[in-house]
């Protein structure tokens, strides 16, 4: 009896020990990734934060002298004389344009992506794989090359203008490059898959019999879409919108190439502060501001969506 008991308790001891070891081991396993994330994400963020509270060096870099001038300059600019304080119109304009173009990109990719995702999700399974594969093809080439391809289409002597003049629609090339429209076109093209893939994932899980139930209960096509399809696709819409919005707001290459200086977006502005303007603290402050803006938008978006769902109940 006694020996059995000890062996039993030692067995459970063993198990507890093994359990705790397993937990510890799994932590150890994730350690490299966690370290990488800490160093890769928090490290630079910390550097930026510190940097934004220092003074700019004459030729880039920072001087180790604390100050909040950079933060001040994100929104205000000294007047020409040095005493009048004004809003930094250029910055605000670029901020506003960035948010506007990003939201429009979300709208455009949703308008194009939803029918596409719906179409793919309603194909027979083997076909679906092929369509999804086709959707991801643009991801295979570099972002820069794809953007330059669009540049080739819309620039002054580009494909579209040449063709339109040749046909006789216009005599002078249209200014398409370096407009907000050009940036929108490029971003919608580049980020469309980011909208289609999550949408497809949520539409694919649909119980299409629910749509029949909707029609049976006197809903027309639009009502079925608005009252059943959209709410059920909710998670996919949120995921797709967030992915596209966040990517657009921080986009650098596409706005740089297609928007130029005339339609610059916030990432270009940040880049400009770190390079030509040689004002690192201001660049850092702007970067943190961008990050905060993204975070706020995400929270608002998720909040309203949750509220709407609760409303529907």
């Amino acid at each position: 009896m006694a020996t059995m008991e000890t062996s039993a308790s030692s067995a459970s001891n063993h198990e507890a020990l093994a359990n705790s070891r397993r937990t510890r081991n799994s932590w150890l396993l994730s350690l490299p990734a966690v370290l990488l994330l800490l160093i890769g994400a928090s490290g630079p963020l910390l550097v930026l934060l510190v940097c934004s509270f220092l003074e700019p060096g004459d030729y880039g870099g920072v001087i180790w002298k604390p100050g909040i001038e950079a933060w001040f300059k994100t929104i205000f600019s000294d007047g020409i004389g040095g005493d009048a304080i004004q809003l930094a119109d250029a910055h605000l304009l670029i901020f506003w344009r960035s948010v506007k173009v990003s939201l429009l990109t979300v709208l455009v990719t949703f308008a194009l992506g939803f029918p596409t995702a719906y179409f793919i999700a309603t194909r027979p399974r083997p076909q679906r794989t092929v369509w999804l594969f086709l959707i991801t093809i643009p991801f295979w080439s570099s972002l820069l090359i794809r953007t330059i391809a669009i540049l080739e289409m819309i620039r002054g002597e580009g494909v579209i203008n040449t063709l339109a003049i040749w046909i006789g629609f216009i005599d002078q090339p249209m200014q398409m490059l370096h407009t907000e429209g050009a940036v929108l076109l490029g971003m919608a093209y580049v980020y469309l898959p980011l909208m289609v893939l999550p949408l497809h994932a949520s539409i694919e899980r649909f119980d299409f019999r629910l749509l029949e139930a909707g029609y049976d209960l006197y809903a027309n096509r639009w009502q079925v879409f608005r009252r059943i399809v959209l709410p059920l696709a909710g998670p996919g819409i949120v995921a797709g919108s967030i992915l596209v919005f966040v990517s657009s707001l921080g986009a650098y290459v596409t706005p740089r190439v297609l928007g130029g200086d005339e339609s610059a977006m916030i990432a270009s502005l940040i880049g400009y502060q770190f390079s030509q303007a040689e004002n690192w603290p201001l660049g850092a402050a702007l970067a943190i501001l961008l990050l905060a803006a993204v975070a706020i938008v995400l929270v608002i978006f998720i909040r309203t969506l949750c509220a709407e769902r609760a409303d529907d109940r």
Binding site: R209, E212, L217, Y218, Q223, I228, P231, R313
Partner: protein, 365 residues
Amino acid sequence: MAGKQPATAIEARGISKVFGSGQNETRALDDVSMQIRPNEFFTLLGPSGCGKTTLLRMVAGFEVPNSGAVFLGDEDITGTPPNRRPVNTVFQNHALFPHLSVARNVAFGLEMLGKPRKEISDTVARMLALVRMEQFANQATNQISKSQKLRVALARALAPRPEALLLDEPLIALDHKLRKEMQLELKRLQAETGIAFVFATQDQQEALTMSDRIAVMNAGHMIQIGSPEDIYSRPSGRFVASFIGESNFFEGTVQSVKGDVADIRMPSGHIVTARLGAAKPEGSVTFAVRPEHVRLEQFGVAGTMPAKVTQAVYSGTDTHCHLELDGGERLVARLQNAASGGPAYDKGMRAGVRFDEGAAHVLAD
């Protein structure tokens, strides 16, 4: 009650439906007709794949027939889309909207019809009370049990007061006890609302106990339509006689006809008097006798057919006696068990077999 009620709520006239083409062609419905009266409990009864769902979907508007027409009262609605037919469906899987609460599910049809808010909330409350789900109004539909889901689906489909309610095997997922309970519940709902119910099932017992009329279907054909009593005691053919309840089948030749009964000579030489019904009274025929209409008596009693018990299966309320007549025919007798004592007959015993008067029924095919 000034308005004249039309004689039929729903009518299907000569409906045929073919799915697929060439090699994969399935004839789901073949020249099917039925007339459903207002305020009746009408059951489509048939084995899986016989076309019940297809017929209901045709009435609901989800399928278009290859030929034939669907009428609502006097109006041809064959081409009308589902959202413009005053007919609602309780789907087999209930198809409740997962993003809406119980009450919002029930309100859905009324909202789509653009009813005023007040009327919607009143009707929803009334419907939830009708199906006894008042206290679940604000629950999510994934937090309620299967039979509660069915109740919600019923309330949702009844709320707009359709001309007919279509129910596609709604009880199939329930266990025996809940099933019995919901059968009574459905009967009650039908009686209280006065709406015609068209109920599809594979369960003959369910059909017999619930229906005002039953339509027996097989392989896309409408086999027989009639009251439960009609279907059970006057089956038109072999399929109905064996699908609904159990039957003993015998071959025989007609000897003489007197009115609507005929004397039929079995191969073993015995003469049996059988009801003719719609059958042609000549030549060789098949007739059916229900096991509960077979009586056993002492071997040798006058007027009985000598037989041997080949097997006796006890099943609680009664014993199924498998018998072989001396002429070679086999049959089953269902004998109610007495309050005391063991089974009266056992394997190997000899007995005299007699059919109750009017038990034998000649089949049309």
